[in-house]
Amino acid sequence: NDIAIAIHGGAGTITRQSMTAEQEAAYRAKLEEAVKAGYARLQQGASSLEAVQTAINVMEDSELFNAGKGAVFTWDEIHELDASIMDGRTRAAGSVAGVTQIKNPINAARAVMEQSVHVMLSGSGADAFAREQGLDMVDNSYFDTPRRREALRKAKAKMIKNDHASLWQQHRDYKMG
């Protein structure tokens, strides 16, 4: 049978003007590495689930993408990660949401699918399940990157400014009593 694979690393306001040549080259190289890693698994006869997991692991381990290492910060300056996986043969599925200590959340999603009777686990319970399954666990600071911290600083500044602006609009006649 034919084999094939496709991957994505996120969508959004991505233009040539917003990236240096070096940054673009880094993204292209990592995307190629990830898709080729997944494809190699398919060539070896591995399942589509294995190929998906392998390709995603490469991107989760890269600081370039918003998943795993390099994930964005929450308002409280930590990282909360989500992942899911689905098997087209059986429509079995597994997912984790709001996890904070699992190095590769896609591995936890697969463990939920294959090692539990559930489809979705969340928060500290999902972290505990992953630990019991022997998955790689990390301190939440493992996911920190300077680039994402700077993005959080900018986002907070903008949100606070907008909050002030909307409050000012509501109370523009405050001096009237």
Partner: protein, 134 residues
């Protein structure tokens, strides 16, 4: 957000998605990535989908499952179904993002309505493609 869809030698499809969510999110906000049918879906009788974008829209429109349903029940190609959902349904409500789709014959489609989407594929002929912009 990152994701992958694959077709193996046994003819089985799979899809997966992993994300850090959105910057400065609060109150335990969850997007579409862990929601089966919204950000991820796979069914050998239709297709496999992984999504990336504004999660609240992808949840409400059940984007991944909707694409596969159009393939399964309306007999549409993945290109038609993906285009209808991403550039039609989603676009009409200002939802932004994209998907990667793979069917059981090895056809690949990667529609998006944002300015760019990091994406790569190796098709059934072994052709490698890596793209970022439109």
């Amino acid at each position: 957000t990152v994701g992958a869809v694959a077709l193996d030698k046994q003819g089985n499809l799979a899809a997966g998605t992993s994300t850090g969510g959105m910057t400065a999110k609060r109150w335990g906000r969850i997007g579409d990535a862990p929601i089966i049918g919204a950000g991820t879906f796979a069914d050998n009788t239709s297709c496999a989908v992984s999504a990336t974008g504004h999660g609240e829209y992808f949840i409400r429109y059940q984007v991944a499952a909707d694409i596969c349903a159009r393939v399964k029940y309306q007999g549409k190609t993945i290109e038609q179904a993906g285009n209808e959902v991403i550039n039609g349904v989603l676009n009409a409500d200002a939802g932004e993002g994209g998907v990667i789709i793979l069917d059981s014959k090895g056809n690949i489609s990667m529609p998006f309505n944002s300015e760019g989407m990091y994406r790569a594929s190796i098709d059934k002929n072994g052709k490698v493609s890596v793209q970022i912009y439109r």
